[in-house]
Amino acid sequence: MARSSAQYFIRYPAGAGTNPWLRLLGLLLLLVTACNPLQAQDFSTAVQTLDTKSFSAKEEAISALVETGGDRTLTVLQAMLEGNLHSRNEDGLVVILDDRGGERRIYDAAQGNDLGTVGARETRKIGINNSLRTALRGAIARLNLGSPDATVRLAAVQAMFSELEPRLKPLLQEALAREEDGKVRDLLTTAIAISDLENDDTALQLEAIEILDDSILPEARNRLAVLAEQADSPRLREAAHQALKNIEFRLQLYALAETIFFGMSLGSVLLLAAIGLAITFGVMGVINMAHGELIMLGAYTTYLVQLAMPNHLEWSMLVAVPAAFLVSGAFGVAIERSVIRFLYGRPLETLLATFGISLILQQLVRSAISAQNVTVANPGWMSGSLEINAVLSITYNRLYIVIFALLVFVALLAILKKTTLGLQVRAVAQNRPMARAMGIRSEWVDAMTFGLGSGIAGVAGVALSQITNVGPNMGQAYIIDSFMVVVFGGVANLWGTLVGAFTLGIANKFLEPYSGAVLAKILILVFIILFIQKRPRGLFPQKGRMAEN
């Protein structure tokens, strides 16, 4: 018997067996059941009746098994559902087969005793069909309703949804009375309402419709749709229609919220990619075609950081952000000192030279690391998703990137508006000779500004490594989009970049369902070309004399 209760908990879903309190509970349970030999015998008989050819007899046997309340019921039913319930040929004993270790080991289904290993022909599987599978799932769900683990109970209620009917109401109400967890209570209330929908009592049905008015679960919607079509009373049909309409409206609202979030997610990626460019292009007037490659270097820095600290993946992001900033920033300063400073005032040549640099950087990565994409791991806290409700969930990595992009934006704004470097950068951007006359080392400021813009590109690379493939060509995918954001938002204005990035991101996601991803991109490009007609200097143009040249 001790063995059987241990088996019970090992077999229990959701890792409940690891909790010491549950072990204690199991021990108590064991004491209770041990005092009741009669019940144990009933249970064995019920298990034995599962071994029959007729599916309807099996279904009855399952109900009978649940009635006994034996503590191994769940184990047996689950084994049956998974197709591991067999009957031993020599004596017809119902056994549970475990062939995971490479050998076929069997356990007594009723008691859980280890009966040793058997050959493939010594047992015969107790077959199930689809209707039995449904019955089994329902029975398991009902048993799980009594589980001490709230997530198990929640899953159990969800599993019952497809077979809700008035007959189940007492069971659910009983569970609701016991229940303390808020989420499970809500779900139970919905479940009770759904089971009430098929009640004969119109008042109860109307009440249920009122409750379900709030729900967005697909099952509730389907049942209401059926009711709206088939209910006898016109009043009922009307109420169901109304509730359906409300539900549809709410679903559309959530779909809208989801699209906006996807758009913001794309927008934040664009913002990260474009904001460094806004500095070099906007503040310095330098077209940096190697910007995408600086993003790529940031992503590769993340990859290298993760290689260097394989045991602390959780912390790798925290190291990677400053590391990428320094690496890309250093490359940026080197590019500025070695190439760009000879080309100030010749923007078209700067464009070509930096494009050459982008080719060199790509080939450098290809030769030094690999031409293939590399894998950058997601730390645990960035994977998974935040489930707001049944239809709306937000993946953590996208959520964090939206937040991160905004943080970078604020930090950059603070640097430009609150620090000495920022003051000098703005002074040089406005009037270089005057700034020099005031004692600002304009060359040094140029190098630092370019380094800052490049460093931000590196930081963007860290974020992008979490959501896209990291490869030598990844930078090229962003360069045109980033320029579009800067051109759209207006040069020399960080707020323009912010608004531009989110506008383009959200517009893209709204267009996608109608036109497909590629066409959406094309439409956006065409839109920007037309937009430039009306406002050649972008959404937020620079004002004053500077803007003329």
């Binding site: 077209i287 075609m289 190439v339 000879f342 080309l343 010749r346 923007p347 078209l348 040549e349 700067t350 464009l351 070509l352 030279a353 494009f355 050459g356 640099i357 982008s358 080719l359 060199i360 790509q362 080939q363 290809r366 030769s367 045109i480 320029f483 579009m484 051109v487 590629v518 066409l519 991109k521 094309i522 490009l525 065409v526 920007i528 070309i529 037309l530 430039i532 007609q533 009306k534 050649p536």
Partner: protein
């Protein structure tokens, strides 16, 4: 005579035209008349390669006209080239007739493969050579007209214009990659059989195409030279050097820029149309922004604002590319990247500028 007067004033152009004439005589001789066993024999592969370079040279010429003389750095000339190529490719595709894999007399193979039932309307007429030639000129010209009309009217200049043109070719690339567009999607148009009844595999057809490329380049050069020497050309240079001043003097700057841009795009389209039958394929990769920007470096290497320099740069860089990508594939991108950087910093006037400086120094 007009030509002799012109020859005196334009030394570089004379050299280029002389070389083209020499090639037009020697290449067919060495390929067709000299037996294959002779070391002097020119393989057909080389003839085709040279024909390809000539198309690139014509494309570079087109870009130099707008960039060198009017300061419009278009990063979308690859798009006009590809559009001309697609127009020619569509004609060649229709010429295949029922000799395709599926043997459908009406539909090209890729349409049969996609289960299309009938020819889309925009493929009508391409079975006629004259119509295809008209489209080779018209489509790039029309796109350049519409784009230029919008862009120049709102005074989009400098790097803004460069980036918009790059976005244009990028958008076209995305569009042509789509199967639904009806241009063969990813694979583009290929498996051509013949042109004007001559098999594309025959040596004589290859020579014919080579000669057509020589004539197109020579004609294109003379036309460009004529334009830049005319009064129109003087105004164009004035716009490059002081746009606002030219406008204040009373010239309608936008119109000058627009017509120059359209002519340049048509030239690029012709280059593309000659290119496609020689290489035997046209696919959306030709729209890639990298191609257009590489084109800019051919012009920069040769020397901007000289016309013959652009042609020389295209031949030189492409020869280097063919050699390096075969001999040392890893080095090519390093070399190209370094070329971009070094030419812009050290040789702002390209190789022609270097030669001129040396001549002036020695004189």
């Amino acid at each position: 005579m007009l030509l002799t007067r012109f020859m005196h004033s334009d030394r570089g152009g004379s050299i280029l035209l002389g070389l083209l004439l020499l090639a037009a005589i020697l290449v067919p001789l060495l390929n067709l008349a000299v037996p294959e066993s002779s070391p002097l024999h020119l393989p057909t592969y080389t003839v085709t390669l040279m024909g390809k370079y000539l198309c690139y040279a014509l494309l570079a010429l087109a870009l130099d006209l707008v960039w060198g003389y009017c300061g419009i750095l278009s990063l979308g000339h690859g798009a006009f080239f590809a559009l001309g190529g697609y127009a020619m490719g569509m004609h060649l595709m229709r010429q295949v007739g029922d000799r395709g894999v599926y043997g459908n007399p009406e539909l090209p193979d890729f349409m049969v493969f996609l289960n299309w039932q009938e020819l889309p309307w925009y493929w009508y007429g391409f079975d006629m050579f004259w119509f295809a030639v008209l489209m080779v000129l018209l489509i790039p010209g029309l796109l350049a007209f519409v784009f230029g009309w919008f862009a120049f009217r709102s005074r989009v200049t400098g790097v803004y214009l460069s980036i918009m043109t790059q976005a244009l070719t990028f958008a076209l690339m995305l569009a042509f990659f789509r199967n639904e567009m009806g241009f063969g999607g990813n694979n583009g148009l290929t498996d051509f059989k013949d042109i004007l009844g001559f098999s594309l595999q025959a040596d004589s057809t290859r020579i014919g195409l080579f000669l057509a490329s020589v004539i197109a380049l020579a004609g294109g050069y003379l036309a460009c030279r004529f334009i830049v020497n005319s009064k129109f050309g003087r105004v164009i240079v004035a716009i490059r050097d002081a746009e606002t001043r030219t406008r204040f003097v009373g010239y309608q700057v936008e119109r000058y820029k627009l017509w120059l841009f359209v002519f340049s795009a048509v030239l690029a389209g012709i280059a593309g149309a000659l290119y496609v039958p020689q290489v035997g394929i046209i696919n959306p990769g030709e729209f890639a922004p990298l191609n257009s920007i590489e084109l800019a470096i051919w012009v920069a290497v040769g020397g901007r604002g000289t016309l013959y320099g652009a042609a020389a740069g295209a031949l030189l860089v492409n020869y280097a590319k063919t050699y390096l990508t075969a001999a040392m594939p890893e080095v090519w991108l390093f070399a190209l990247g370094a070329l971009f950087v070094l030419v812009t910093i050290l040789l702002p006037k390209g190789i022609i500028g270097l030669l001129q400086r040396r001549r002036e120094g020695s004189a």
